[in-house]
């Protein structure tokens, strides 16, 4: 199996194990059919700080808030603040369900370099090793453009992860593959070229990734893959 048609979970594992994520690429999106093992794989591999978006989610659930501790009010970090402070991965599940209240904060969390100002006045800058990995079901064209354009790599989870396949066993796994897309919106999306895709390409090149593999990691598929390779060619 070449890098060009490698399964999404193997690509992600390779990017993590070789240090491409988070040292060269630190904003990644995995989108695809439900029950493919996206969130589980990310959490198990990266030991991430995890948050699941929903429409009614308050900001405090993301960055933290003032809490009564031992009779006094103290600031307690939320998952995003902890990830920034400790230099770990912030995993955001169901990114497409982002509540309006947290939108601008998410922009800041996904900036490069990332940094937020807490309500206490403390400025938190991302420690080395910080990154944001998001998961969701629908295709990324549902995301607001400022969020979409901050994501470096897009992986499409259109097959079961290795963990799920092992858990099911070979016979059931093949059946599960057959029903994977049932009753789900088709994942028809072509990544457009953006400024960020070229910045991400540069980062991947500096990590020693060749252009063909980089195109795959960046999420270009079909004609978009050959078009992007043509666009970035040196001559």
């Amino acid at each position: 199996m070449t890098a060009m048609n490698e399964a999404w979970d193997r690509t992600f594992k390779r990017m993590w194990e070789t240090g491409i994520v988070p040292h060269y690429i630190n904003r990644l999106n995995i989108h695809g059919y439900s029950r493919t093992g996206k969130s589980t794989l990310v959490h198990e591999l990266t030991k991430s700080e995890r948050v699941t978006f929903h429409e009614a989610m308050p900001l405090e659930d993301l960055i933290g808030g003032m809490t009564l501790v031992d009779g006094s009010t103290r600031w307690v970090d939320g998952p995003a603040a902890r990830a920034l402070r400790r230099g770990t991965i912030l995993q955001i599940d169901e990114l497409n369900d982002m509540p309006p209240e947290v939108r601008t904060m998410v922009y800041a969390l996904m900036d490069s370099p990332a940094g937020i100002t807490l309500p206490t006045g403390e400025r938190l800058e991302a420690a080395p090793g910080y990154g944001v990995i998001t998961t969701m079901n629908p295709a990324p064209d549902c995301l607001p453009h400022p969020i979409f354009d901050r994501i470096d790599c897009f992986l499409k989870a259109d097959t079961l992860s290795e963990g799920i396949r092992k858990a099911l066993g070979p016979v059931l796994a093949s059946k599960a593959e057959n029903v994977l897309a049932y009753n789900q919106a088709p994942l028809v999306w072509e990544r457009p070229a953006t400024v960020n895709s070229l910045l991400a390409l540069k980062a991947l090149r500096s990590a020693g990734v060749n252009d063909e593999e980089a195109t795959h990691m960046l999420g270009f598929r079909g004609m978009g893959r050959s078009d992007f390779l043509t666009m970035i060619a040196e001559r």
């Binding site: 252009d211 270009f220 004609m223 050959s226 078009d227 390779l229 666009m231 040196e234 001559r235």
Partner: protein, 421 residues
């Protein structure tokens, strides 16, 4: 199905100075780039990487006004082929051996499909071998191979119809590689279409060898002037050289003194379709013939005979015989010497020179200019040659050109190596 790609990655690679074209995606084989002036307005692509890359190169590098100027004297398809070859050889997006594997695979797919089509066409219709439809895609394939870093051999057996076409392809690609697209295009035009397209003040084309044949009305020569550089300051014309061989080398035309009247060159009355007098006996026929007039004219109409007097020709014995058969013919012979040549007009209008003048050299060299001269002379035209043209950069093209003119009925070729009549 047709759809507009509003987030086109391909178009994102086009410099702003070239415009912001609309990208129309097709599910069939439609592939085209529309350029208005110097701006790209639209690009149409199929769902195949190679064809998309090809249109991408057009978007980035095709200079439409420059093409119009360089190719104004050639058929549109000739200019297209030369431009396609130029793009692939000089503007392939990747350096040698850096083309991504995904792209290499699709280039091979395209080459195999096209090769299959043209080989099949040749099998089904053997007469196509060596024609423009057979030659053009093959030479473009060589250019594609060069750009993509494949090894291709134009001399592979049966790839081209014959060795002279293989040599011609090599020369054409070398001309294009070195920036002489105009010369390459005009060489192809001469070889496969017999003549350059004259440029009229209105910008419309003129003469064609096939189909409607019109005469050029602007006085501009249909043949001379190609393969010639004009110095922008002095306006002086200089011959283009290619690999030390001249393209369209200069030829001196020498009219020998026609002192001797040819015996059988009689002038009398003959029936024609127009004239000052009616041929009264024809009026008695039940069905009037077409020729019912008489006029004073040559008994036997003339024509033109041109003889290749290069070293391979042999003796002059046949010339006298031909003059007996067609006493009013214009008879001339030519030969080359170094980078130039001479053409001697031995006989014209029923009179001939007292003796043959020996040419300075015994080379071919000026086969092209000699054919140019012949095409300006009166029909029927006969050329006596063994087709062994050499000594000029366009010799192979002239061999093909002669075959094209022969197929069109413009010139009858007699091979003196077989001592034919």
């Amino acid at each position: 199905m047709i759809r507009t790609n509003r987030n086109s990655v391909l178009v994102a690679g086009v410099p702003r100075s070239r415009g912001t074209p609309v990208h129309i995606e097709h599910d069939d084989d439609t592939a085209q780039t529309m350029i208005v002036g110097s701006k790209v307005t639209e690009v149409h692509t199929p769902q195949r990487p190679f064809e998309r890359i090809h249109e991408f190169m057009h978007m980035k590098h095709t200079n439409s006004p420059k093409m119009e100027r360089a190719f104004r004297r050639v058929e549109w398809i000739v200019g297209q082929i030369v431009e396609d070859c130029r793009l692939h050889m000089l503007h392939w997006p990747w350096k040698i051996r850096h083309t991504p594997k995904l792209i290499i695979a699709d280039v091979r797919r395209h080459l195999d499909e096209e090769r299959g089509r043209i080989d099949n066409a040749r099998k089904l219709n053997p007469k196509l071998a060596g024609s423009w439809q057979d030659f053009a895609p093959r030479v473009r394939q060589l250019a594609i191979c060069e750009g993509a870093g494949f090894i291709a051999d134009p001399f592979e057996p049966y790839y081209f119809a014959d060795g002279s076409q293989a040599h011609l392809s090599h020369k054409i690609l070398k001309l294009i590689r070195e920036g002489h697209e105009k010369v390459a295009a005009e060489m192809l035009q001469m070889a496969f279409f017999g003549a350059l397209i004259p440029v009229r003040p209105s910008g419309k084309g003129g003469m064609r060898i096939r189909g409607d044949i019109l005469s050029a009305s602007d006085g501009e020569s249909l043949y001379d002037g190609w393969g010639i550089d004009i110095d922008a300051r002095s306006g002086k014309r200089e011959t283009v050289y290619f690999d030390d061989e001249p393209v369209n080398p200069p030829m001196d035309i020498i009219e020998l003194p026609h002192e001797i009247r040819i015996n059988d060159a009689k002038v009398g009355r003959r029936r024609t379709t127009m004239g000052p007098r009616l041929h009264r006996p024809s009026l008695r026929k039940v069905i009037l013939p077409q020729r019912i007039f008489t006029k004073r004219a040559r008994i036997e109409p003339g024509g033109t005979i041109l003889i290749d007097a290069s070293g391979s020709m042999g003796g002059w014995e046949n010339v006298s015989k031909w003059l007996e058969e067609a006493p009013f013919s214009t008879v001339a012979y030519y030969a080359g010497h170094g980078a130039r040549g001479q053409l001697f007009v031995y006989a014209r209008k029923g009179r001939r020179a007292a003796q043959f003048a020996e040419p300075d050299g015994g080379d071919n060299t000026v086969d092209g200019p000699a054919i140019n001269w012949l095409m300006k002379e009166r029909a029927p035209r006969i050329m006596v040659t063994d087709r062994g043209f050499c000594g000029a950069a366009d010799s192979e093209a002239q061999v093909l050109r002669l075959a094209t003119l022969e197929a069109a009925g413009e010139i009858e070729v007699r091979d003196y190596s077989h001592q034919s009549d």
